[in-house]
Amino acid sequence: MILEALIGVTFLAALIVMLSPDEYAGRLAFALSLLPVVGSLYMWAGFDAGGNALMAGSIAYRTQIDWLVAGGYRLQWFVGVDGISLPLVVLSTVLTTLAILSAWTPIDTRQSQFYGLMLFMEANLLGVFTALDFFLWFVFWEAVLVPMYFLIGVWGGPRRKYAAIKFFVYTNIASLVMFIGFMSLVFNLPVDSFGLPAITGSLQAGELSRFVGLDPAALKLAAFAAMFVGFAVKVPVVPFHTWLPDAHVEAPTPVSVMLAGVLLKMGTYALLRYNFTMLPDVATRPLVATVIAAVAVVSVIYGAMLALAQRDLKRIVAYSSVSSMGYVILGLIAYTGLGIGGATFQMVAHGLISGLMFMAVGVIYNVTHTRMVGDMSGMADRMPITVGILVAGAFGYMGLPLMAGFAAEYFIFQGAFASTVIPSAPLFTAASMFGIVIVAGYLLLAMQRTLFGEFRLETDYEVRRAHFHDVAPLAVLLLCTIALGVAPDIFFTMMADAIEPVVAVVGGGA
């Protein structure tokens, strides 16, 4: 029942905040958002699942109730967590609370609606990461888009309408493509429900039947392609990434934090759950694996090169997310314990670090009202602690050892290097690893020009030290990043446990 309580309380909190007066909305939202944090930590403490939720593993906090029957298929309220989803649930709750805290300074209109939508989004995100019935999952998946659309479209920058519509339409079309792909599988399986474990089991038992002249293998390939493209938009993977920088640049800081920190992980999470868990026989075809590995390498290198060309700090971090997500794709297609485990770990690590970076840039923006690299220099002189954390976070982004990003990237590299699924795996791995040089290049360059040197600010605002409630979330994120870097097993053990069955199907090694 605790999952229902978690999601229910979050929805209720959203409603309460929505109805509260603007003056108190921020503090109220912060206080109420602590409830899901406590709930998710409590779930973590009592976590006892083993194996993969989709592959006959034991599911923690499982509830499975028939809801209604449509067209011969039972739709269920079916939720639960395993070692892959629990870390993402914890990440979502913690990051939402910190994002709400970071909104206190910049959000000064329609606060109750803003914070209400943030909590509403959190509730749906929790649903996405815990739902184990396709229909239920899809409802949550689509419902996340709605608050995000308004958060960008109402509180965003000058081109907010363009960015919000682009985000919504692009990802919605992607959902449609994915939906068609998945349904073409389900309707040709002898299953009577949309339960994901049942569908996975049936697929892997080879029960897929022919469909209008397509043999099962071809149907699987088509479905795999449709779902991959659909999720790739969300991740985003090059060349489906162009909505992301627009959305990030226009979105207010706390929304960027949620977008980069959690929403992108919906895409990689879904890729892992659907494409790579349900259809391993398609993913491991040499040609498919080569294409996906190539897409991953291109995302890493091309995304990093784009970041190098930017002047807007937020755009830099946005493109670097494309680069970091490329590593996730590489780890997934490696089909090794360390590869997929590293990819899953990277979802959490990148959530923390990119959240930290967007927040830090936001704190600077709050006082300077600019994010352009050329418009300021020497910020370290005026905001020493903020800048100190930003520098630490940037090094975390560059993959400094003993911070979460290094652990994730190292696992992925180690896992991908020895992959038997990717042809010429060492070459693909080495190529993608060059991203660690480019990321250092653009972050160090941007830091040198904005943070160091003589103090100068084009926008003529008076620069004062940031508020405590602006800096505190940064410090929390930094500490989490270091903790996960020093002791990755905090999450990695449970992730590895849940991933083992996925890898075992393919027979991949380390």
């Binding site: 682009k166 339409v169 090059v238 060349p239 162009t242 909505w243 091309y302 090169m305 784009l306 190098l308 060309a309 930017q310 090794t336 314990g337 360390l338 020497g378 370290a380 002189d381 602690i385 090094f395 400094l400 050892p401 003993l402 290094f406 652990a407 190292y410 696992f411 590299f413 180690q414 290097f417 020895a418 795996a425 060492p426 791995t429 080495a430 690893m433 060059f434 660690i436 040089v437 250092a440 290049g441 160090l444 360059l445 830091m447 040198q448 943070l451 160091f452 040197g453 003589e454 103090f455 002791a487 990755p488 097993d489 990695f492 590895a496 446990d497 083992e500 890898v503 090694g509 380390a510």
Partner: protein, 680 residues
């Protein structure tokens, strides 16, 4: 004594603790501790030093230690075939020796900083001492690392600390730029290192340095067909090991500032001088060479990798030396001398001179720390003017600095009987005899090394004479600022070591007299069997040959290198030991410009970054906005446009709709008539 080794992690953790304390003070923004946080740092490094000495004593007693301390990650990953990602401690003669060097230099640098930073009224001292503490801790963690992954982890942290400390004066334009360059250039090398780390673990399933289950041992066994390893890309074992060895070497070349990644090091002089001493003598730059020594067993089985190391080293020794000839600033000369001296160490490692390289690492640590701290003392005296042409005549006014600096210079120049003579001579000797033993490549390296000898002596004594001799050329030089005990003390300690540290390995004396005075050789020949000198000599591809006999070769080699060194010294004496020296190097004309501009090494690297990579990034950005995003926007435009056209059908006039309905029905009926029914 087994209990003592259990405290080894404290060697690393003590400086780390001082880092945490200093960070706390820095965040508080108040003057919580006296001396801006220096005291915890001094106490911590002193504690580490004492512990290191105790460990060295225990190692001298024949004990060694190799234990896993912390399981970092991955132990739980099923199907990883025992790939353990752990941190551990390896204490053997090599690491014990290095621990003593690093902690001693770090301690002296901390004390010296009291004079250089505190007494000079610098701001941000807690940040400075935090950096020093973390730097020391990272390096010590690297030294005791028992496996390659852990070595990489601390190698990177060393890089971070260099960034923080080189960029200490962040309000000025130079230091942040130099810091960025240092991190970026070494990161470029570390990219190859990381690929190498991943490759080693994927190949051998372990990154351990020592023990029967270590990767150098596996590599050796694999070449004898006694152990199965995974090789990749269809390469044979020997080729693959060479590839992996060269990948790891990328990190070494970056951190130890070898050609072509040496460009960051001279710029790093933007950092405070004590930091330069730490970077050059004992920490960052030493890390690269130490890594090769640490995993020497792996390189020893790969002749190609050894050859590359020797050639890169020999070339760098000469190449960097020539650039040092024309520099105007004291610290710049020292910077190029560092690159050159680490080149010698690489030459030694590549030539099978494992002991010689370690020996030079030891003596260089002392005399280079001494020279940097001496330079720091001069810089204090000169109110932070580093231009040697503004100095002169400081000899009489700063005797402690002068005589210690002189000792360091004699050691650097390789003059008998100072420490540097013995170590450099042994490097050249090893290279020569192994070269004569049928390795023409090593003879090339030997010639490079030999040619660098007079160059080194010349630039070293040009520096000494310009700084300390002759007449004072500026007002500041005639009345220098006095320096305190905290400056003189470290100089005195290091001066003694630079003069006398050669006694630890008087190899030529052993050859000539038969007395066992090559203590370092004996020291490094103990401990784990697979990490001993005689084991390395067994597996490396070299054999020795002599000119005449062994003794003759020793004498001829020593005479030639000493003669060349004296030649360089004499030339410097003739040109610069005069009351008012002139810029003789100006006579070199365009050659001087070439040397002064470092063979345009910086220019081409900056060109690559600014004129190739950045435009490429911009082109990608343009492509992304116009083509990739253009396609997205075009899809939307097409939909909107077609929508707007199709909308015209919806005229709202009833008769139009009626006409369309009738027309449609007619078309359908005709179609059915022609086809004879439904399509399907």
């Amino acid at each position: 004594m087994a209990g003592l080794f259990d405290y080894t992690p404290a060697v690393v953790l003590l400086p780390f603790l001082s880092f945490l304390i200093a960070v706390g003070v820095a965040i508080s923004g108040r003057d919580l501790l006296p001396k801006g946080g220096a005291v915890p740092g001094i106490a911590a490094t002193a504690g580490s030093f004492l512990l290191s000495v105790a460990l060295a004593v225990a190692v001298a007693g024949g004990e060694v230690y190799n234990e896993t301390v912390y399981a970092w990650a991955g132990g739980a990953v099923p199907g990883t075939e025992g790939l353990e990602l752990t941190f551990g401690v390896l204490i053997d003669p090599l690491s014990a020796l290095m621990l003593v060097i690093v902690t001693l230099v770090a301690l002296l640098v901390h004390v010296f900083s009291l004079g250089y930073m505190n007494d000079e009224g610098e701001t941000g001292l807690p940040r400075y001492y935090a950096g020093l503490g973390l730097f020391t801790a990272s390096m010590l963690g690297f030294v005791v690392a028992d496996n390659l992954l852990m070595a990489f982890v601390f190698f990177e942290l060393v890089g971070l600390c260099s960034y923080l400390l080189i960029g200490f004066h962040f309000r000025e334009p130079g230091p942040p730029s130099a810091a960025k360059k240092a991190f970026l250039v070494t990161r470029f090398g570390d990219y190859f290192f990381l690929v190498g780390v991943v490759a080693v673990l994927a190949t051998f399933g372990t990154g351990q340095f020592a023990g029967p289950e270590s990767f150098p041992v596996f590599a050796e066994e694999a070449l004898h067909g006694e152990h199965a390893v995974n090789t990749f890309l269809g390469l044979g074992e020997e080729t693959w090991f060479t590839v992996v060895g060269l990948l790891v070497l990328g990190g070494v070349i970056g951190k130890s500032a070898q050609f072509p990644l040496q460009t960051w090091l001279p710029d790093a002089m933007e950092g405070p001088t004590p930091v330069s001493a730490l970077i050059h003598a004992a920490t960052m730059v030493a890390a690269g060479v130490y890594l090769v020594a640490r995993m020497y067993g792996f390189y020893a089985v790969s002749p190609t990798a050894l050859g590359v190391i020797a050639l890169v080293g020999g070339f760098t020794a000469l190449f960097a030396g020539t650039m040092g000839i024309v520099k105007r600033e004291l610290k710049q000369v020292l910077a190029y001398s560092t690159i050159s001296q680490y080149g010698y160490m690489m030459l030694a490692l590549g030539a099978g001179g494992y002991v010689a390289a370690t020996f030079h690492l030891l003596t260089h640590a002392f005399f280079k720390a001494l020279l940097f701290l001496g330079a720091g003392s001069v810089i204090i005296a000169m109110h932070h003017n580093e231009n040697m042409w503004d100095m002169g005549g400081l000899k009489g006014r700063m005797p402690v600095t002068y005589y210690s600096f002189l000792a360091g210079s004699l050691a650097l120049a390789g003059i008998f009987p100072f420490a540097g003579f013995w170590s450099k001579d042994e490097i050249l000797y090893e290279t020569l005899v192994h070269g004569l033993g049928g390795q023409p490549l090593l003879l090339v390296g030997y010639v490079f090394g030999l040619l660098a000898v007079p160059v080194t002596a010349f630039y070293t004594f040009r520096m000494v004479f310009l700084t300390f001799h002759g007449d004072a050329r500026t007002e500041q030089a005639s009345s220098p600022e006095p320096v305190g005990w905290n400056v003189k003390g470290p100089l005195a300690v290091l001066g003694v070591l630079a003069a006398g540290a050669g006694v630890v390995n008087l190899a030529p004396v052993r050859v000539l007299t038969g007395a066992h005075v090559d203590f370092l050789h004996g020291w490094l020949d103990a401990g784990f069997a697979e990490l001993t000198v005689h084991h390395y000599e067994e597996i490396d591809p070299y054999s020795s040959a002599y000119i005449g006999g062994e003794a003759t070769t020793v004498l001829v080699g020593a005479a030639v290198s000493l003669g060349l060194a004296l030649l360089g010294l004499a030339l410097a004496y003739k040109l610069y030991a005069v009351p008012t020296p002139t810029e003789h190097t100006a006579k070199l004309g365009s050659v001087r410009d070439l040397l002064y501009d470092n063979y345009y090494q910086d220019e081409y690297q900056v060109f690559l970054a600014r004129r190739v990579v950045l435009p490429l990034a911009r082109a990608a950005d343009t492509f992304d906005r116009s083509v990739v995003d253009g396609a997205v926007d075009a899809t939307s435009s097409v939909s909107l446009f077609s929508g707007s056209r199709i909308r015209r059908i919806q005229t709202g006039v009833v008769s139009n709709y009626a006409a369309l309905l009738t027309l449609g029905l007619t078309v359908l009926l005709v179609l059915f008539g022609v086809l004879g029914g439904w399509l399907l």
